[in-house]
């Protein structure tokens, strides 16, 4: 039993080293996956913001059209400058334009931030590998030194 103890210790050290390398790789791959997902999400969010801007433009047009129709129906010149209808629609136009810009800005922001998040995750993956490998090597060194320190002759000395 005593004769196999050194071999068990060496084997344990080797398995520990491999396990730590594998763990570092797994964490890196996890962060790489997150980086990919972050890029996708940014673009998806940008599309949603664009659709939201278009929708706001449609709502603005519907409001303006309704005011023109009511003015005409009420005997007002719906296109006369400086008149009520005109003033209302100018206001509607202004409000709708702002919403559209806001949506466009959000879409751009989503793309930019998605890309940034993706890069962060990629850096994290690289760090996982770097520090995981260094730690595994350091532990391997300590374990190896301990094994050498604790070694004892397996054959009787004369």
């Amino acid at each position: 039993m005593a004769a196999i103890l050194p071999f068990l210790q060496v084997a344990g050290t080797a398995f520990s080293f491999i396990s730590k390398i594998s763990s570092a790789n797994a964490q890196a791959r996890q962060n790489e996956a997150k980086a990919y997902e972050a890029g996708i999400k940014g673009r998806t969010d940008a599309v949603a913001y664009r659709e939201e801007g278009i929708q706001k433009l449609k709502e603005m047009r519907r409001a303006m059209s309704a005011n023109i129709a009511r003015g005409s129906a009420g005997g007002l010149d719906p296109f006369a400058a400086g008149e009520t209808i005109d003033l209302l629609n100018l206001n509607n136009l202004s409000e709708g334009g702002q919403d559209w810009k806001l949506a466009r800005n959000n879409a751009e922001m989503a793309i930019l931030m998605g890309n940034r998040q993706s890069m962060i995750y990629q850096d994290a993956a690289a760090s996982n590998r770097t520090y995981g490998y260094l730690g595994a090597v350091a532990d391997l060194s300590t374990s190896t030194a301990t094994i050498i320190e604790n070694r004892y002759p397996t054959e009787s000395t004369t």
Partner: protein
């Protein structure tokens, strides 16, 4: 009613900035922390390894360079300060060096201290050192060694003192036990010696003589003329109490105390019995002894005997009375023994007297004045010891006689034959005095004279006489065979008889020379007579011829023969007086034979 105008509804949403997850920073921090831990483990391992190496090397160096026992002893003698390698505040190596050196130094110091403590214990036992001195010596040893490194490491010194204190205390306890045992033993031996003196010397005197003082309220009163019985008893009881008290003080156990006190009581009883017995045995005669015993039984006795009875007590009075009766029997036996002793003493003194007076008479034959003085001294010496025998001797010695054998005209040969036949056939016609008379007349040679004197002398002894009669019967001799000139068979028988008689006398002399005074002549004759009966005539003749041819006497033989003659039979025959002067002349004539050196 007019419809209201339509207003565009603003989107409530504001600018949306997504929140970032800084996973990279988190990964770096986590990885760095883990790496840091790993590197710390590695560093610690290496540091520990280096520390161990430093400690090991430091320990080796410190152990190798620690102060030795010789250096310690030298330091104690000279006061030179010891040097310790390393330091307590330096590097790990220095500290290890110092610690190892101190450890080895402590071991060395402990070894040296233990050795000295053991030596001191042995010396203490050999010299019977008092325990206080022993304690101080041990303390001094420990203190001396502790001081040697007290300044170097006070804590170390304290621990050393504590350890050595245990060792020294163990030795001290052991020695104290032995010391106490020895002191107890000496005290006991001293007491036993005093006890023996008390019971062997003091006690018998007190009991025998009594005490003539009395105690008044615990103080010694004035001496009384008569023995004070109560005071004597009180003194003895006081002695007993004093002995018991001393025994308790000297560590005797209860059983031992009881044992000694029993011995004391037994001795008191024995001495009391002795007083009673001595009282009876001190009587002048048996009548007085009887009277003393009767008085004792009637309780009438002197005061000192009353003391003895008082000490024995009423429960032992019957034994004392019985002892007195037995003492009466003992008195009678003693009287008989005394008489026997007296007789034996007279016999012994008479025997010595005969030997000494014989020597003195022979001396007188050579030196008259000197011999006369010797005779007077011998007589004076035994005058008081055996007065009757001395008076008788003087009376006999002053008697002389005339020849009963030699008739006018008788030849020397006739005289010789007459004595020879008288001795051979035991006709008892003549005596020693006749032999001496014929010698004075010049009818006998010196050799014949001595031979006949011896022959008649030994016949005074009944045992010898019986032996000779037995021998005579064995040789077939009887009075009818008397012939003046023995020839043939008779002569042979007479020669055999003479040879046997000479052998018998020689054997007796030999036995006396070996201090065997209980020589039984008759018994010897029964055992040896066949030796003489069986001799042939030629052999006997040859023996006689040889004796004649070698008729040479040593001085010692002559003296022995003369002593025998005189001792066995005093010079007496009839009523005539032989004076000292005559005796001297007689012995001068006896001195005729050729005397040679004893060396021959």
């Amino acid at each position: 009613m007019a419809e209201r105008n339509v207003l565009y509804q603003r989107n409530p949403r504001s600018l949306n900035i997504p929140t970032l997850d800084y996973a990279n920073a988190r990964a770096i921090a986590q990885g760095s922390a883990q790496l840091n831990q790993s590197l710390n483990r590695l560093t610690n391992f290496i540091s520990q390894k280096n520390a161990n190496v430093a400690k090991t090397k430091g320990t080796e160096y410190g152990a190798a360079n620690a102060p030795t026992i010789d250096q310690i002893n030298d330091s104690l003698k000279t006061g030179k300060e010891l040097e310790f390698p390393g330091s307590k505040t330096g590097s790990l190596f220095d500290r290890a060096v110092n610690a190892a050196a101190m450890e080895v130094f402590s071991d060395n110091l402990e070894t040296a201290a233990r050795s000295q403590i053991t030596q001191k214990a042995v010396m203490a036992e050999q010299n019977n050192m008092p325990i206080a001195e022993m304690r101080n010596s041990l303390d001094a040893i420990i203190q001396g060694y502790a001081d040697s490194f007290g300044e170097v490491d006070a804590g170390f010194a304290q621990r050393f003192k504590a350890r050595m204190g245990i060792v020294a205390n163990s030795q001290y306890q052991s020695y104290a036990g032995k010391y106490k045992t020895r002191i107890d033993r000496e005290n006991k031996a001293s007491f036993i010696s005093a006890f023996q003196i008390a019971i062997d010397e003091e006690l018998p005197k007190i009991i025998a003589n009594g005490i003539d003082i009395e105690f008044v309220d615990g103080q010694v009163g004035e001496a009384k003329k008569r023995t004070n019985i109560a005071a004597t008893t009180e003194i003895i009881q006081g002695m007993k109490a004093d002995l018991a008290q001393k025994m308790v003080k000297r560590g005797f156990g209860p059983s031992e105390v009881t044992q000694f006190l029993n011995v004391f009581d037994k001795k008191v009883d024995d001495y009391a019995y002795d007083v009673i017995e001595s009282h009876v045995l001190g009587a002048k005669n048996i009548i007085e002894a009887n009277i003393l015993v009767e008085n004792l039984l009637a309780q009438s006795m002197p005061t000192n005997v009353k003391v003895a009875f008082d000490l024995l007590g009423p429960e032992k009075i019957n034994e004392a009375n019985e002892l007195a009766k037995n003492a009466l029997d003992l008195f009678q036996e003693q009287q008989t023994d005394i008489m026997q002793l007296r007789e034996n003493r007279i016999k012994t003194n008479t025997s010595f007297f005969k030997q000494e007076i014989g020597t003195a008479l022979i001396e007188m034959s050579n030196d008259f004045e000197g011999g006369k003085l010797s005779v007077a001294m011998v007589l004076d010496k035994y005058e008081n010891l055996i007065p009757l025998e001395i008076a008788e001797f003087k009376e006999k010695y002053n008697m002389t006689t005339v020849g009963a054998i030699a008739m006018p005209g008788s030849s020397k040969q006739d005289v010789r034959n007459a004595f020879t036949q008288d001795l051979a056939f035991a006709t008892q016609r003549y005596s020693i005095q006749d032999v001496m008379d014929e010698q004075l007349r010049g009818n006998l040679s010196q050799v014949d004279y001595e031979s006949f004197l011896t022959g008649y002398s030994i016949r005074e002894d009944k045992n010898f006489k019986k032996a000779l009669n037995f021998g005579r019967s064995m040789f077939g001799l009887n009075e009818s065979m008397i012939v003046l000139n023995p020839q043939g068979d008779n002569a042979v028988r007479i020669n055999k008889m003479n040879a046997f008689e000479r052998a018998l006398i020689l054997e007796r002399d030999s036995q006396i020379a070996e201090n065997n005074l209980a020589f039984d002549a008759f018994e010897w004759t029964k055992n040896n007579i066949n030796r003489f009966v069986g001799e042939s005539e030629d052999e006997i003749l040859a023996i006689n011829q040889a004796r004649i041819n070698n008729m040479i006497w040593t001085k010692a033989q002559l003296e022995a023969v003369s002593n025998d003659i005189i001792n066995q039979k005093p010079l007496e025959v009839g009523s005539n007086v032989l004076s000292y002067e005559d005796a001297v002349e007689l012995l001068e004539i006896l001195n005729n034979p050729k005397i040679v050196s004893d060396k021959k």
